[in-house]
Symmetry: C2
Subunit: 342 residues, 2 copies
């Protein structure tokens, strides 16, 4: 048996000191609906305060069969997109005395399954998947199984991004957002396009690419296969892909990088090759990352209410479970800036 940790005050101490039973002390401090007589309540609270009592989280979690932990799964914690989601989640969580634990898959989607299992073990009250879904049947099926087990064990699962899993989802309108962007760019007079897309399996990237094609198609502009470059979903991915395209002879067109950090990489690649943006090459991104608003030329992009998405996700967690999975739609808004001026 572990020795009693020194200096740790238990509920029993408070109860004894206050001259009430354990049950009463519990009800006074962390209880639910049951009433406690006014004077007793006050005494207990006062004693707890005096002894600097803090409830033992694990013990509460065990007795209740549920902890107050919300797990947030991201692909990369340094990516400002995920930071913003985390910020939204944490702000709402703090208001409801929930603890947020963050785990990063480091861009290995198979780790999601593993982390959900861990969170199930922790009896977490919810798990929020913030990373893009991917096109991978086996993996997504295993994830569904694990998430179902998680919900069966009493937790809540919420997905941010694509509505591909049978759980409450905060869905971002990637496709319409990208279509709008395409329309605005053709409206500006652009006719020759290049898309820097992420890994082919990444749904966020696919949707943005497809939406962009939708938008171009409506204006009768075609995007040939050669004008789609797949790369990493990162700044360096954007840089490399842009560099390759330029070395392959691409000039005088408009580049759509499927996210802002890739767009920043693309601009850097252009600059390193002596090309001016937007004079020689126009560049647009997606997300409107706040940290990147000071990039010059300022980036044409699609503004996404990222923090709000995190807040919505936690709202799902806090609300009653619905009969069937709910979807909260969130839309982006095109912001034209210098990087695509013609």
């Amino acid at each position: 048996m572990p020795q009693r940790a020194a200096g740790s005050v238990t509920l029993a101490d408070v109860a004894r000191e206050a001259g009430v039973s354990l049950a009463t002390a519990s009800r006074a401090l962390n209880g639910g609906t049951r009433q406690v007589r006014g004077d007793l309540l006050e005494t207990v609270l006062k004693v707890a305060e005096r002894l600097r009592y803090t409830a033992n989280g694990p013990a509460q979690a065990m007795a209740r069969g549920r902890s107050n932990v919300v797990g947030l799964l991201v692909h990369d914690i340094v990516d400002p997109y995920f930071c913003s989601i985390a910020s939204g989640v944490m702000r709402v969580a703090a208001r409801h005395r929930l603890t947020v634990t963050i785990a990063s898959t480091e861009n290995q989607p198979e780790k999601e399954v593993e982390y959900v299992a861990t969170l199930r073990g922790q009896r977490a009250s919810a798990v929020i998947l913030a990373g893009s879904r991917i096109e991978h049947r086996t993996l997504q099926r295993r994830l569904t199984v694990e998430l179902t087990a998680f919900e069966a064990a009493g937790g809540r699962a919420v997905v941010i991004g694509q509505n591909r899993l049978p759980f409450d989802t905060v869905q971002l309108g990637n496709r319409p957002g990208a279509a709008d962007l395409a329309a605005r760019l053709t409206g500006l007079g652009h006719r020759s396009f290049l898309v820097l897309a992420g890994p082919p399996a990444l749904l966020t990237s696919r949707d943005r690419l497809r939406g962009f094609q939708d938008g171009l198609g409506r204006d009768g502009v075609a995007l040939t296969a050669g004008r789609i470059v797949h790369t990493e979903f990162t700044r360096d991915g954007g840089y490399d892909a842009m560099a390759r395209a330029l070395d392959g002879g691409f000039r005088d067109g408009c580049v759509f990088a499927v996210n802002d950090v890739m767009a920043v990489g693309a601009i850097a690649a252009c600059r390193d090759r002596g090309l001016r943006v937007p004079a020689d090459v126009a560049v647009a991104g997606f997300d409107d990352i706040v940290t990147l608003r000071d990039i010059r030329p300022s980036l044409t992009t699609v503004r996404v209410p990222i923090e709000t998405m995190g807040e919505h996700a936690l709202d799902f967690v806090l609300s009653e479970r619905a009969g069937s999975p709910r979807v909260k739609h969130v839309t982006g808004e095109v912001v034209l800036r210098e990087s695509t001026r013609l």
Copy 2:
């Protein structure tokens, strides 16, 4: 009593199915030093696998008197500086099967005390304070009391930043770093300086300011009080302070913003007033935030191994407690780039 959560497999289930006692099952799956006979071990592992058993975290934590949670306290999770620290901490944590919970004080240092208390309640194995210490006797005393209680309860406390609290500390050489920067800037020929400092109480800001003054002093350059502007430790703070300085007539000098995001704000303010950097105003920052490396003009700054600091912090957590607080020194390195070219 909470009803038994459906679909949740307990260690007892595994033991029964494997035909061994609870103790043996426990020792086979999560046990410490005690040996389990080979065949039994194998059976237990196989059964656990088949039943998809996951240990109940809270129960383990309660039985052991300690959870495997590490709490990370930051001032603002969207700030890339803290993201990088979190990244370093999480990378090491994942290797040691530790769970990281992040809490943001939202720049209200008094919340630190509160969060440490919560973590004590969670029986967290460690708490890492990542935000800058502040000059505030009462608050720091209360924090020390709380952290001492935390360690008395068996946890580990680690501080990143200034060595002001009697706990293991990863100390960043802000003062020498800023002094080096000052030396290099005077070396470049700069003679007229302006410092955009953070809130007066923030030690990170104070140390960088003081170090900068040290460095200037060695080269016989003085910094008058009028040339120090206090502002928020953020991008917008940098913008506002720079704008005020320019409106107050500041021209033709070198601006040291005590961190990179403030420097970015300062550059934006210059641009908005039609001033060129570095031709009209030179600007330097501190931190070398990766996300900001694509800002043009590229930023002269002091490179800080931020992720490494997070890693060191967790190394402290993982190592044995020493007799007296240990300090790991980390230094910055000046990187001259375009923004201060003369």
